[in-house]
């Protein structure tokens, strides 16, 4: 059984880090037709580069063409689908029947997956999309364990489930509050997240229905026992650090599960890691029960800026045991920090010195993206990440 870890990427840098840090596949959006219209997104040339980068490393690239089309959006759709097919993407992720129609009419052989926007919650819905030719379905985030098990036990269509990231308050796609309140079309990638706005009512308390995030770390092992094919992280607008950290955490846990070495200590550590990198609290959401009073916020946006990402390793001089680092957040001499990377397990050390670009010893690295050298008492590699100690 092959378990796929599927990461999001808002641009080429993040795609590369997702691949390096453990993703088996990455999903991205073009400039048009995806549901994150305000992410950086990819030009066709960048999609081509992304596919080459991923395929060279045995990874897959799925492209979201999953917005809900209005009449005016149909104009250049054929051309776009053909271009993606020629590039050699591994699958389209689609919602609109107009896209399925175009794929079939154009006789495109590239697979298509059905997006979570279609809110698939039962086996019968999976059968419907299988009959249309879908290779995989992305289940609604409202599915519980029984729903997923019934689907997995009774059909051979591949199943993809979300395991981490932000949640819609609504069933995905079944919300146009953004359209009404802010004139931004939620189903064409412009969602302004009105569910995270504040409302007055006739009580003494403001009203909000902002959902906490999804985090399936406690149930991942159980989910893998259901033989789900793909485990998806939400967040095409998230930072490079977030992508690398979440990919690394879930990759490590999945590998331990596959190797039979997963234990509570590993889960406990990575739960801390994931809690720190998230800017909201998180819960397993619908997997084990319908979220109750603890599943949401009541006073608007509760988002915390994360400053754990201290620096990106650019190179390492083994002889001097000295790393060259691009600073991302302030760190100082005597700080205890840790490094992790694609081939570097998490290791901690104390910063003994910092040298700036003029080779002068300084007490701290406080300038954004300045290049500094520090002593690291073990081997590290290019693209490893230095972060605060998570104990």
């Amino acid at each position: 059984m092959k378990y796929e870890l599927l990461l999001p990427a808002g641009d080429l840098d993040r795609l590369k880090f997702a691949c390096l840090y453990g993703a088996d596949a990455v999903y991205i959006g073009g400039y048009n037709y995806s549901l994150r219209a305000n992410a950086n997104n990819f030009s066709l040339d960048e999609i081509d580069e992304a596919v080459k980068f991923a395929h060279e490393r045995g990874k897959k690239v799925y492209v979201t063409v999953n917005m809900i089309f209005h009449n005016e959006d149909l104009k250049d759709l054929d051309e776009y689908l053909i271009a993606l097919d020629k590039i050699g993407i591994d699958s389209y992720i689609v919602s609109d029947f107009a896209v399925i129609e175009a794929i079939k009419r154009l006789n495109i052989k590239t697979k298509f997956f059905i997006s979570t926007q279609k809110s698939i919650t039962n086996l019968e819905a999976v059968k419907f999309y299988k009959n249309l030719g879908a290779y995989r379905v992305v289940l609604a985030r409202e599915c519980n364990r029984d729903d997923i098990k019934n689907i997995k036990d009774n059909i051979d269509t591949e199943v993809e489930v979300f395991i981490h990231g932000a949640m819609c308050t609504s069933y995905s796609g079944r919300c146009v509050m953004s359209n009404y309140v802010t004139k931004r079309d939620s189903n064409r990638g412009g969602c302004s997240q009105v569910c995270r706005f504040m409302f007055e009512n006739d009580t003494d308390y403001e009203y909000a229905f902002s959902s906490k995030d999804l985090n399936m770390i406690d149930y991942l092992s159980d989910m893998m026992d259901l033989n789900i094919e793909s485990y998806k992280i939400e967040g095409r607008m998230k930072s490079l650090y977030y992508i690398a950290t979440v990919a690394n955490a879930y990759r490590t846990i999945m590998d331990h599960k596959i190797n039979g070495t997963l234990n509570e200590d590993i889960i406990k550590y990575y739960k801390k890691v994931l809690n720190r990198v998230s800017n909201r609290e998180n819960t397993p959401q619908f997997y084990d029960k319908v979220p109750g009073v603890e599943g949401q916020y009541y006073s608007g946006r509760q988002e915390i800026s994360n400053k754990d990402f201290l620096g990106l390793i650019l190179s390492y001089d083994k002889e001097k045991q000295e790393a060259t680092i691009e600073q991302r957040n302030k760190f100082s001499v005597n700080d205890i920090v840790e490094v992790f990377g694609p081939n570097t397990s998490v290791q901690q050390f104390k910063i003994e010195y910092i040298k700036n670009e003029d080779n002068e010893y300084v007490d701290s690295a406080s300038h954004a993206q300045e290049i500094v050298k520090i002593k690291v008492p073990f081997d590290v590699c290019e693209n490893d990440i230095m972060r605060v100690q998570i104990s």
């Binding site: 219209a37 305000n38 809900i68 089309f69 209005h70 009449n71 149909l74 609109d96 029947f97 107009a98 129609e101 926007q117 279609k118 809110s119 698939i120 919650t121 039962n122 019968e124 819905a125 419907f128 249309l132 609604a140 409202e142 599915c143 519980n144 029984d146 729903d147 019934n150 308050t169 609504s170 069933y171 079944r174 919300c175 146009v176 359209n179 009404y180 309140v181 004139k183 931004r184 079309d185 064409r188 990638g189 412009g190 009105v194 569910c195 504040m198 409302f199 007055e200 009512n201 308390y205 403001e206 009203y207 229905f209 619908f286 319908v290 979220p291 009073v293 599943g295 949401q296 009541y298």
Partner: protein
């Protein structure tokens, strides 16, 4: 293709009340399978009414493994009843010719409607968030039977969460199942209602498209009286076939005339 027809989702369970307004076609929300209405009907009530009126059953909840409970009762419905369904899984249970597909908020273009027609689904409800020009183009470029929510406190959001109960519990407020909500910046007013298995948010004002009545050629116009007060209900029933209805009630035709942009850069 059929002529323009008005179909009503009743506020009250006594359908005879609507006869004097010349209604003989009704959409009845099926108990436990639909959400956001004032009156729900069980299978016996629906079958009884189908002997007298043209009846559609609406099922607008997403179904989980409870879809199999419906499978058990489907064959007990009279054969002349049609089904307006949100959950695409129901297409595997209900005969194609009896289905009206209702993918709320996500059926927005003529190509999708024509594709559904090509695979045997020729009855569809189009979105309630389209502009009048988009609707006209859909009518002109499709052969399907189109259904459209013409007068309604239209749905803006559907959630599986218990969004009113959770709020009440969090602040130790008395039990209620609805609130009027005023968004603090735009001052736009929404209504939230919670029922078994979920919550919905609707417009506060009544969406009314009567201004464009003459544009709606050959389509089925749905009048949903749920959540509408008695005064406005009476006004709607007495004037639903008049273009001036929108001036007689506390109405809004927001999406019909407001093009919705989707990228921040598109906002001027």
């Amino acid at each position: 293709m059929q002529k323009k027809k008005f179909i009503i989702i009743p506020k009250h369970k006594e359908l005879e009340l609507y006869e004097k307004y010349n209604f003989n076609t009704f959409i009845l929300p099926l108990k436990d399978y639909s959400i956001g209405f004032d009156s729900y009907f069980d299978i016996d009530e629906i079958n009884d009414y189908s002997n007298k009126y043209t009846i559609y059953v609406i099922m607008n909840k997403f179904l989980h493994n409870n879809i199999y409970s419906f499978k058990d009762i489907y064959n007990k419905f009279n054969k002349n009843i049609k089904f307006i369904v949100e959950d695409i899984g129901l297409t595997e249970i209900i005969d194609k010719e009896r289905i009206v597909l209702y993918e709320n908020h996500i059926l927005s273009n003529y190509s999708a409607i024509n594709y559904l027609n090509s695979i045997g689904y020729n009855n569809v409800v189009i979105n309630n968030d389209l502009t009048i020009n988009e609707i006209k183009e859909i009518i002109n470029k499709t052969k399907s039977n189109i259904y459209y929510f013409y007068v309604a406190k239209n749905n803006l959001m559907y959630s599986r969460r218990n969004l009113v109960t959770n709020y009440n519990k969090n602040y130790n407020l008395k039990e209620t199942n609805s609130y009027n909500l005023i968004e603090e910046v735009s001052r736009k007013v929404l209504n939230i209602y919670e029922e078994k298995d979920g919550s919905i948010v609707t417009f506060d004002k009544i969406f009314c498209a009567s201004k464009y009545l003459n544009e709606f050629k050959n389509i089925n116009l749905i009048i949903n009286l749920s959540k509408i007060d008695d005064v406005n209900e009476k006004m709607i029933l007495e004037n639903y076939s008049s273009e001036s209805l929108c001036n007689l009630i506390d109405s809004d035709y927001y999406f019909l005339e407001n093009e919705i942009k989707y990228k921040v850069g598109d906002l001027k």
